[in-house]
Symmetry: C2
Subunit: 646 residues, 2 copies
Amino acid sequence: MPSIPRDALRAWFLGPRAENAALMERLITESFRDHVFWRRNYRPEDGATIREVDRRQEGYEDAIATLTQELMALLADLKRDVPFFSGRYQGHMLNEPTIASQVGYFAAMLYNPNNVTREVGPVTTRLEFEVAEQLARMIGYDPAVTWGHLTSGGTVANFEALWIARSLFYLPVAAAMAARAGAPDIDVPRPDGSRAPLSAMGLYDLLNLRGPVALDAWDALRAAVPRADWREVIDQHTLAHAGYQEYTRRLSRHWGDPLPDSVVLVAATAHYSWEKIVRALGIGAEQLAFVPVDRHCRIDPDALWERIEQLHARRAPILACISVCGTTEESAMDRLDTVLEVRARAEQELGVTFHLHADACYGGYAAAVTRRADGSHRTAAEIRGSTGIGWPSDDWVKSMVALGWFDSVTIDPHKLGYVPYPAGAMLLRDRRARDLVAVEPPYLAPAAGPSQDTSFLGQFILEGSKPGAAAAAVWLSQKVLPLDERGYGYLIERTVIGAHRLYDAIAGADLAPFRPVMLPRPDLNIVCYAMAHPSLTSLSALNRLNEGIHRQMSLGGSDQMPDYMITRTRLTHPNYDGAVPPLLPALGVGDPEQWEHGTEGLVVLRSTVMDPFLTGDAGGADHVAGYVAALKRACTTALVEISPGD
Amino acid sequence: MPSIPRDALRAWFLGPRAENAALMERLITESFRDHVFWRRNYRPEDGATIREVDRRQEGYEDAIATLTQELMALLADLKRDVPFFSGRYQGHMLNEPTIASQVGYFAAMLYNPNNVTREVGPVTTRLEFEVAEQLARMIGYDPAVTWGHLTSGGTVANFEALWIARSLFYLPVAAAMAARAGAPDIDVPRPDGSRAPLSAMGLYDLLNLRGPVALDAWDALRAAVPRADWREVIDQHTLAHAGYQEYTRRLSRHWGDPLPDSVVLVAATAHYSWEKIVRALGIGAEQLAFVPVDRHCRIDPDALWERIEQLHARRAPILACISVCGTTEESAMDRLDTVLEVRARAEQELGVTFHLHADACYGGYAAAVTRRADGSHRTAAEIRGSTGIGWPSDDWVKSMVALGWFDSVTIDPHKLGYVPYPAGAMLLRDRRARDLVAVEPPYLAPAAGPSQDTSFLGQFILEGSKPGAAAAAVWLSQKVLPLDERGYGYLIERTVIGAHRLYDAIAGADLAPFRPVMLPRPDLNIVCYAMAHPSLTSLSALNRLNEGIHRQMSLGGSDQMPDYMITRTRLTHPNYDGAVPPLLPALGVGDPEQWEHGTEGLVVLRSTVMDPFLTGDAGGADHVAGYVAALKRACTTALVEISPGD
């Protein structure tokens, strides 16, 4: 295990100048040859299929010429790709992956394992379970009762989480319908502690049972019915079986209770893919209710409470609430501890409960910052001692530790895990919920139901065939960079330090007559700000300026590679009502009506600092200073562009 | 371009004995160094970030020691993987990928491009569109009006196809609701040719409009409404917006017409993931109606017609019909041309229509067999001349050519495309339907609606971040192995020849007292059969024998690697009513009641021949003869195992 992360950091990456090229080439070659000799050692008696005589044929040589030539064309083409490895790139959530993850991916890819099931990925399915366990431990889940796996990315992981949440949400309804049809009736506790048999509960009450309670009831029901009768007696009452159209009719037939639609609450900063997900699941975009954020772009707990009260008042059940740990735009972390408190209060005061999901696709790996090598928690003061920048706050740590109490959490290794695409992860606090989306393929014996063979991953997840190589990549990377202060914790701390350094440099730079107006210091490593200018007093003029700056500092504008690459985003009303209005005076926008009545929102510039070498103590160019200089040039050019008459 | 595929075949793969190791190592190393010097050539003035002095630190050396040691552990572990590269492996749909695809994947992975959008994958998004176009051309789509992209695999591709089909299915309903709410009314043709305005049509009629007609109406509607009002005037009437619960209510409010649930017809052989998909989409497993197959395991067109008539009689609309081109279990190809005829008849005679999807995840690449180098079609006779085994039939070619008339087609490059995971593909005949699932992310200006920037793939698909490397892998492989008789066509022909050779060897072998009972000759390259024995006259005894044989010939049984590796599957009543009963006499099962009243079905053994070197003209061991010998041993052992008293 690396004992001195400070130095190890420099061994983890190939490096902006490919400084570690010799090392990586050696490991790649070694992995390749190791695979070659594995093949040769397998059944040597089989002899050579491709003989020397075959190689002397014209067609063979032609084919190799074609391959070589087309590869050269590809290599030439790839040179027009984006230099994600450089500190000059601060655009999207991309960086060079770790050496470990790339070598691990390559080594396993040669074997072509498929993690759909152990049968075709005996080694890498095990590695997948191992990395899921490591991630579970990092966020505070107990691997003995939780479950997790890798996905192609965050969207599929989030999709699965909400798919499972929906199945869980309607589970008591299914159990109650089964009970009314003659199956055993189960007595369950409501969130406020009172108990009732399922068959006697109203629809609204059934949709407000806690997840573990619903799963206990389901277990009790299935224990009371012979396995062979499950489909007939129980499963046919599920939404999965009946589908929404039929289910909607059944609900009104059984309860005659025209409840409003079930709502999915989501932080207003949530990724756009949540809209895709509720559309695809058939929940509907209209049922996605955005909860406004505060000035730190974190979900506003008062607004959340208010929304819950309003929904309760009209008896609209809440299917799930999605909190964000590391927003795409600002790297903001919702106060997850406060969100948990809001739910606890809703359970006690209103008898209302819901599935809590944390979309930690971006920020999840930052939980490593809170872990010591022995797995215990670091205190906030201890971490601040190591970062030296007054980050993180006590609240930050409290929030991160709260992740372990969420019902499901998604984390993307291909973001702050620094591994190649594709690698998302879905973690479930109570593994029993996994069975709710399980399908039995025909080639399993009818007697063997789901969950009997947990190594058949494809049974429990949306995807089927999936790269075992991705599991090997994550596994090797997490071996070299453990999920604590020695590995990922250290790496991510460095990026936060770099981001704060960049933040200070922009905020303190003399860019006159331009003025940077900063969003609050980020929770992680994304710096957002807008440039102001005395001559620009409307949001739309400011937006033109900042769009112009973005054009100068991005790849979109021209074929020429800019000095520094950033992105921009657009904060809109009402989602950002907590964040933007406080900035308007500094932006020089006198009339706050512009915000409330305009549709174009505020364009902010955005630097994602995933590069761990912006801390000021690495060799090479100082990209913080370089960035500020480039920004100044871009401001001037952009202003000229938008004021052709001047 | 390879002019002599016979010889080229031997240059396409690393080879069972890693015969082409020197070539592949050279290309890997070349790709790596090329990338290294790209980094060094980028902004040389930036200097070295990782300095020589950094490398002399203890922590740096420790980190490298850790990396090397853990990699060695991984490499050792991987040696317990499955030898997919060998002709001895005939289990699942796995083989070694082409050299081109692996080198292409590796070369691009070093750049870490993300194909969610051109901004972070400028080169590889273009390659993705190129390969989608190539695949579209291969199946007979016109790339000028179609659209396609890569997915993480077949399940996600199929999910998207049905998601789009669902959106298209309800589109006329949305347009009619918009018209009733004041939007322009559109006059459309019904499948039988008669015309009516949308607002005047009944619900059943609206759900029976042809896809292109629905899209034309949608286009007309959107053209008549200012872009800024789309959401308000049109989009809010979609299922995607409202969600199923609310939509079900609206349908009954507007039409008061309690139609039965919408049905998804699917060949009984369809992959188990279709059940996942209808569950996740909220359509419901109950709404998935399996259409029985014939003795070739192809969808039975008469049964399909009958099912359509029954559904029409009770006015149950059909959301989609899924035909399979290359079943997972048998590589059976539905008679796609006949399925098209059935739909045409339903349109004319019943006024019923539906979205036709071809799940060609496995078989799609076999369309390359039907293409000449210039893109024109080869005749069946021409292909038979090249295979020399009387395959394919005229009907086979007719069926394959019909693929181009399906509304959507899914094809997995990571199956018969011989590229590493993950790589599925979704192709849409009318690209306009893509917009139906598009989401506008907040960082696009409100004015720029979907489809304006088609390079932002994440907008139109389920997934977000996705590996550009996968596109490079498919691209390079399709450059080296073109999608015609010179490349993939030749490769797949070889596997079919190998499968037929294996079929003949098993069918003709003297395995007495055991008798092989063969399913019909496969449409592609999967050989299925069951072993019979004079002493076994019940299905359950036969199944025990064949399960026992499978245990001997698979990895599940013990830690020891068997001589040959196959899989087994279970054909069940009523899905296989066309296929299994004709085999019962040969199996020695006198009482056909066992089939109709039993639940365990018939276990068949299954060899997937993806290895192109089983044709008998390659060097090395003859794995067809070896297989038959291993089968004989396995039969004897299995019989002893199931008859402990003997």
